[in-house]
Structure formats: C-alpha cells, structure tokens
C-alpha cells in the first residue's frame, strides 16, 4: 500500500491563504443581507399588489408598482444600514461595494427597459421582466453569500420566466408571489438562520 503523497509547503501556505480570503469574502457578503428587511419588503409588496389589483387604468397599475420599487429599495437600504451598523461595519466597505456593484447592473437595465416598454404600451411583459432581472441581480450579488441568497434569486428568475409564459392578466399575482411571498419566506429564513 502506498503512503499518500506529501503536500508541498508552498501549496499548503497558498491553500491556507485562499481559505482565509474566501472566508473573509463570504462573511462580508453574508452579513450584509438583511432578513427582516426582506420580510418588510415582502409585506410592502403584498400591500402594493392589492392596491395595484384595484386599478382599472394600466398606467395607474404601473405607477403603483414603480412607487413600490422605490419604497422597497428604501426599506432594503435602511435595513442593510441597520445591520451593518449593529455589527460595527460600514456599508461601503469592500463586501458592501461588491454587493452594490453586482446587484445594480441588472436592476438599472430593468429600470431603462421598463421605461421604454411602458411608454410603448408593452406593459404585459413588465412583471416577468422585473422578476427575472431582480432575480439576476440577487444571484450575482449573492454569489459569494450563503447558499440561500442565490437560491432566492433563482426562484425569482424561474417565476419571471413563468410569468412571461402565462397570460398577462396574471402578472400582478406573479409580482405579489415574487416580491411579496418569496421575500417574506426567504427573509424569515435569513433572519432565523443568519441573524437579522
């Protein structure tokens, strides 16, 4: 029986350095994701879905959801700030910047496309597109986070694809399920398992 090949000291030192680096990166991203913030964003989305469902004019429906986007972003930012302050950390430190830089491009693309599609009257594709692009942002921003964050992003993307394949009249309820229920469920998981 042959004995295992000894590991070179340089390989071991590199491995240890890589492990330290990975742990530090993962920690930063993971602690910035606010679970209770997700729950609050989900609750506000459910209220928005009910209000939006009562609108007879499609423009008003769009305005309700756009207002909800601004509100949800404000809630999310406030909870990230709260969580980072509680841990004596800065939102603008490397992990926070990494999160912002990964999350922003798909969301910004979503903003521009929404404006164009909305002004052309193609509102029927908006729910699916919003869910998919938000999900893409969560997947990329959560790539170095705990597994539950990119899984949540993938759920949003899957739901978005389903919304695009289903009748446009269901769009509001896809948004309610995605931005409402998914946020609440994953927010609770993050809050319970990973603190805050």
């Amino acid at each position: 029986m042959s004995s295992p090949r000894p590991v070179a000291i340089s390989d071991h030192a590199l491995e240890q350095l890589q492990y330290i680096r990975d742990t530090m990166e993962r920690t930063g991203s993971f602690t910035a994701v606010p679970g209770w913030g997700g729950v609050a964003m989900g609750a506000s989305a459910l209220v928005a879905a009910v209000i939006a469902a009562r609108q007879t004019d499609v423009r008003m429906w769009g305005i309700v959801w756009m207002f909800e986007v601004v509100l949800a972003l404000a809630i999310g930012t406030a909870f990230i700030l709260r969580k980072t302050r509680r841990g004596d950390r800065s939102m603008f430190a490397a992990p926070g910047r990494q999160f912002f830089l990964s999350f922003s491009p798909p969301v910004a693309a979503g903003g521009v496309l929404s404006w164009i599609l909305y002004s052309q009257g193609a509102w029927a594709v908006l729910p699916g597109m919003w869910l998919m692009l938000y999900g893409a942002g969560v997947v990329t921003a959560g790539a170095f986070s705990v597994r539950v964050v990119p899984i949540m992003g993938l759920c949003f993307m899957g739901l978005g694809a389903m919304a695009l394949a289903c009748p446009a009249a269901w769009g509001n309820w896809f948004l309610a399920f995605g931005f409402g229920v998914l946020h609440v469920v994953f927010g609770l998981i993050i809050a319970r398992r990973y603190g805050g």
């Binding site: 492990y19 920690t27 993971f30 602690t31 603190g195």
Partner: protein
C-alpha cells in the same frame, strides 16, 4: 507558526471575525458549514487563548451567543499571515 489558529475551523472563526466584526454562534456555524459541536469546541480554545471573547445574552426570548475578535486575536492572525507570506517569499527566491 501559531498552531492554535493553524487548524482550519479556528482559522475560519478568526478570519470571519476579523472581516466582519462580532458574529453570533449561528452565523459562524452557517458560514463555516460545520456542526454545533465543532464551533463550540474550537471557539472555546480560541477564547481560552484570549483570541476571541464570548458574550451570552438573549434576543427577545431566544438565547444568543456572540463572538468578537480581541486585539491579541487580530495580532495573531496578522502574524500568521506574515508567516505564510514569508514562506511563499522564501520559496519564490529559491
């Protein structure tokens, strides 16, 4: 080389606390993808060496254990990193 933080779980605990500030027991366990027992045993060793502090309390009615890195712990990690750097530097020169 500091054998205390050379061990993988202990190195993970110290690195995580250095990167983020205080973390709870649950956060550390999830982050390092290990068991309750592993985190407890290794955190206790680091605490005994004065590298980390442990604060027990409650969040509402739920017990909460929080760990934080001490100045000694940070210095030990920096020394360990210097040591790894020195090894790699010496091997590159050869």
């Amino acid at each position: 080389m500091d054998r205390l933080i050379h061990e993988k779980v202990r190195l993970g605990i110290v690195s995580a606390l250095a990167a983020s500030g205080p973390l709870t027991f649950v956060e550390l366990r999830s982050l390092l993808a290990t068991t309750d027992g592993n985190v407890s045993v290794h955190a206790r060793k680091l605490e005994e060496a004065g590298y980390i502090t442990c604060t027990k309390g409650y969040e509402g009615r739920v017990p909460r254990t929080e760990y934080a890195l001490t100045a000694d712990g940070r210095a030990a990690l920096e020394k360990y990193l210097d040591h790894l750097g020195a090894i790699l530097g010496a091997l590159r020169k050869k």
